[in-house]
Amino acid sequence: MQNSSVDYIKLASNKAKGKRPYFFEDPAVERVLNITMAIAGELAVARERIDTLERLLEKKGIVSREEIEHYVPDSAIIEEERQLWHSEYISRVLRIIQQEMEELQNPDKTVEEIAEDINKM
């Protein structure tokens, strides 16, 4: 369902008023991050669609596009499985952030320093 009078693809990505803040010293890093996160999101979307297909195929052995468009989880277990997948997926993609937090919590020696230590062991 599309309305030709509205250029919804362009308008959807409009900027909000106010100069955009950049948090990293190099804005190029942030640009890459934003593109990467958009791709991450689209992979999640594709994965959810595949999940739907698999479940429908399993259920009926045959699948129509209409069925895919209207599928929504029909049990609390499936809802939970799907949201759990998102949670795991996000954690995987943002691994480095978690690792930096762990490092912050428990500062480590560099492997070069450990090599020196081991050399004396």
């Binding site: 308008l11 990293f24 999640a44 949201q83 952030i97 937090m101 919590q105």
Partner: protein
């Protein structure tokens, strides 16, 4: 260990005639973004760690003293790599949420407009005023990074801004406001019904009603009352009225009126409510609006305002700083300034008696809560559906 808390899937949202149609992928995109928001609340814990372990110690070393203002904390934290990464991801998530919502509502803008027109046609409970302009504080910024804010019309008779808001607030709050996004309105009407069961308001005003999600629970709790809900955004009012019609709630009149200059008579309302509205006003307007509220309120009437917690001396500078994030980077600039205004002073300057001032805490009533024990979660500052409510009876 309790089970991991997962946000509800988007299709748990209550269906009504105005809710935009969604494809499978559009729902999946919202599910991803709700999960991402939830994940980032955990990543935010690293900000406190970075502050405690390096930002504050480094500042003390350099300055020979600790932080004295939240602005100093902000300047120092801006250089911290963890804070930079979390901020960049959070900003990106907010922008993605707007893009996801706009892409799905704008493609069906004409259909949504027609749906609203058919539900609104011939009804006296929707009163629009072409002369009513959005106030300057709304024109200065697109609140919460919503391009075009509440008032922009992409086509004549547009409702897309409201459809975007309605479908997406569920994502930003990870469903914690319930399936109608009305946890705030439910909480305040429940509080009134249980704490002041003797109070029988005949006429209630909701200011800055938006798409009316928080005024409808009040209208349902007081079906005999006449409710007037005002806003300056025509798309919000058209959508909100159509939504209320479809939900069978008939005692609310949606009017396009600016809050600081209303056409209502002196002492003509028993209850005047705002919900998450005042922090989207301005430094002078907030006082004008409160004076207007005082004027319109009947003696014996009450006014209540649901807001995020104020910044007090008891709140750590770090917490003030982290609560400020949304103000600057999710574009709600008055949020920070307003939290320095003491609500009791705001009320007394507008005419209320100091002894009539009241302040309570309320939590959203969430009809999606399954009652299961949840794992402990870090507070997502500025996003938690736990609010400070202040107000006063007028005597």
């Amino acid at each position: 260990m309790a089970a991991k808390n997962l946000p509800p899937v988007w299709n748990k949202m209550a269906k009504h005639a105005m809710l935009p149609e969604t494809t499978h992928d559009e729902r999946a995109r919202y599910n991803f973004l709700a999960s991402l928001n939830k994940h980032l609340a955990h990543v935010s814990q690293g900000n406190q760690m970075a502050f405690d372990k390096r930002v504050e110690p480094d500042f003390k070393k350099d300055h020979g003293r600790g932080f004295t203002t939240r602005e100093e904390v902000k300047e120092a934290m801006k250089k911290d790599p963890h804070y930079q990464a979390w901020s960049a991801l959070r900003r990106c998530t907010m922008e993605m949420r707007q893009q996801a919502g706009r892409s799905l509502v704008l493609r069906q803008a004409e259909d949504l407009k027609e749906k609203a027109e058919s539900l609104n046609k011939g009804k006296k409970t929707l009163i629009l005023d072409k002369e009513c302009q959005p106030p300057p504080y709304l024109l200065a910024v697109d609140n919460h990074l919503m391009p075009g804010s509440y008032h922009t019309e992409v086509i004549e008779g547009d409702v897309s801004a409201a459809a975007n808001y309605d479908s997406g607030v569920f994502v930003t709050t990870a469903g914690l406001l319930g399936k109608f996004n009305d946890g705030g309105g439910k909480a305040i009407s429940h509080w009134m019904k249980t704490t002041h069961s003797e109070f029988k308001p005949k006429r209630i005003l909701d200011i800055g009603c938006g798409m009316g999600h928080n005024v409808l629970p009040i209208a349902m709790a007081y079906p005999e009352a006449e409710i007037i809900a005002i806003d300056t955004g025509a798309p919000m009012l058209r959508y909100g009225h159509a939504r209320a019609m479809d939900l069978g709630i008939k005692n609310v009149t949606f009017m396009q009126v600016e809050a600081s200059q209303t056409p209502f008579e002196d002492e003509s309302f028993d209850w005047i409510q705002t919900t998450m509205f005042l922090h989207e006003t301005g430094g002078k307007s907030i006082y004008k609006i409160m004076e207007e509220i005082y004027r319109m309120l009947k003696p014996g009437g009450i006014t209540l305002h649901i807001e995020q917690p104020q910044y007090t001396d008891e709140m750590s500078l770090f917490e003030q700083f982290i609560r400020d994030w949304d103000a600057y980077y999710n574009s709600e600039p008055f949020w920070s300034k307003m939290h320095d205004i003491m609500p009791d002073e705001l009320m007394t300057k507008s005419g209320f008696n100091k002894e009539d001032f009241m302040q309570i805490g309320v939590k959203a009533i969430n009809d999606l809560d399954d009652g299961k024990t949840k794992a402990d979660e870090p507070e997502d500052h500025g996003r938690s559906p736990v609010w400070n409510v202040f107000g006063a009876w007028k005597h």
